[in-house]
Amino acid sequence: MVNISSNNQYITYEEFKNFCEFFLKKSKQLNYNWEWMEDSNHLKKTGYLKFSQVIEIDKKEISSTVFKFEKDDNLDKIINDVELKMLENQYDDDNVLNEDSKTRIIWEWHIIYSPIFQIPVLFFNAWDEEYQPIDILSNKEIFPIKPLYMPIITQKDHPILGVPYYYAHPCTTGQNMNMLYNININKDELNNTIEEINIDNTDILYNTTNTNENKYNNYIASWLSTIGLIKVDINYFI
């Protein structure tokens, strides 16, 4: 269905959009609330993927280094209130106990195409219950899952919304995607591995990786799993 334009790890924005479409379809089947967003205020209709979640943590896990400042109107641009209420209701419906020692963190994850690096980049923000942004760099233990290797994280202006977000540096993304997709280069290595573990039926392996459709459609899910900051359901790959 989707053909990658070149023989390397780089993708164009159009390819990114197609991969996102596939990812959204799969997410819907698996009941994950990823959405395609386009900022109506922006002159260019550049889109990105968005996922929101509310995570409950122990209050003691978050230090007092939450930024101190007053709420302002611009917050509406970052999280719209309706959406937050929706998330809250969802949370209440779950009948989770509101213990005093617990607090809620609101996360937003955005998958954005980088025209510089020609790969997706993960942007994210976290807010506390009063919708104040959390200084994530001083609170790395609040991540919903603990990555095996913590990527380098910096604050940066969101390329589309123009407000501060955090992002995982894309420095190893190219290499990772190259390893995933440049099967030809790794074919010898792969064959050796197959021999070592005594798999006779190598056809199975090649059949699942060789067609362009299977190979690239899962680009977003594969890429996201290499970042390690957000859980990627195994069912995306089955």
């Binding site: 002159l43 260019k44 930024f67 611009n74 025209p115 020609q118 604050q155 940066k156 123009g162 407000v163």
Partner: protein, 292 residues
Amino acid sequence: MEGENTTTTTNNESDEINYPFENVREKVFNGSIPIKFVVSEEDKSKIPNSIDYELAFYYNIPRCSYFPIHKTEIEEYFISRNVVENGDNIWYSYKDIPLKWHYPVGLLYDIYVNSDDLLPWEITVHFSNYPNNKLINIKDLDTLKDSYLTTLKESDYMRYGNANRVMCLSLDDQSTLWNSLCNLNFKNFWNINSKLLIDTPWSNISARLYINDNVIQERFANISEENTTLKDLIVSWCQEVFTEEEINNNIDNYKFILHGINISIDTPLLWLGQYLSYPDNWLHIIIKQKSS
């Protein structure tokens, strides 16, 4: 010895022939804006009663520099007059718009100030209520240095498809580059920065367009030809903003601003990139509608 001398002379001569615009870079680098800093409304109550004059700090800031580089001078004026104890939470705004500290000062001026406004540029200085929703957190000058080097790497990547030129700078070169930007030493700066720009062809132009509140940054690969102009870039990136017809017929309604200069849309793109890039090696071009 004689042979060496001859070679040197030839090189100098050919340098002049090949780079007749060398002083353009120096002029752009040394350009500055006179700024008047006044205390924000919410911090005004902190001004001691003994001060019975309009409290304002006047300072000339290089267009290519960044506000945090001049933090010490700015905060010192207000600390020494007992307005605040420190400038830990300092930030700046213009017409209620928080000014991004990681943008060059000249870029901020070109984005927000109308050409008929008078100088000095009046900026509000805030000592409290840092707007974390709008501005990236800054701890110290190293935060700016990191941000500058990241932007530099990105521009390198754009031009050459990798960031090797920046990554291969020695630590000494890196600090010379940064320190000479802070101290406004053109010669030292360009000794290093020329290594990052001089090789052609470029695989892409490192440019960003600013229209109203929007930033447009895409890929534009066709810059190998000498006759590729700014117009080609605008036509390619701004299809959703204006139609090609509009660009052809009504281009006079728009102005294209770089370092405070109205530049011709027919300027060769590669020349712009080599001579009018900011010290982060990006072309930051503002598109504005001319006021009728």
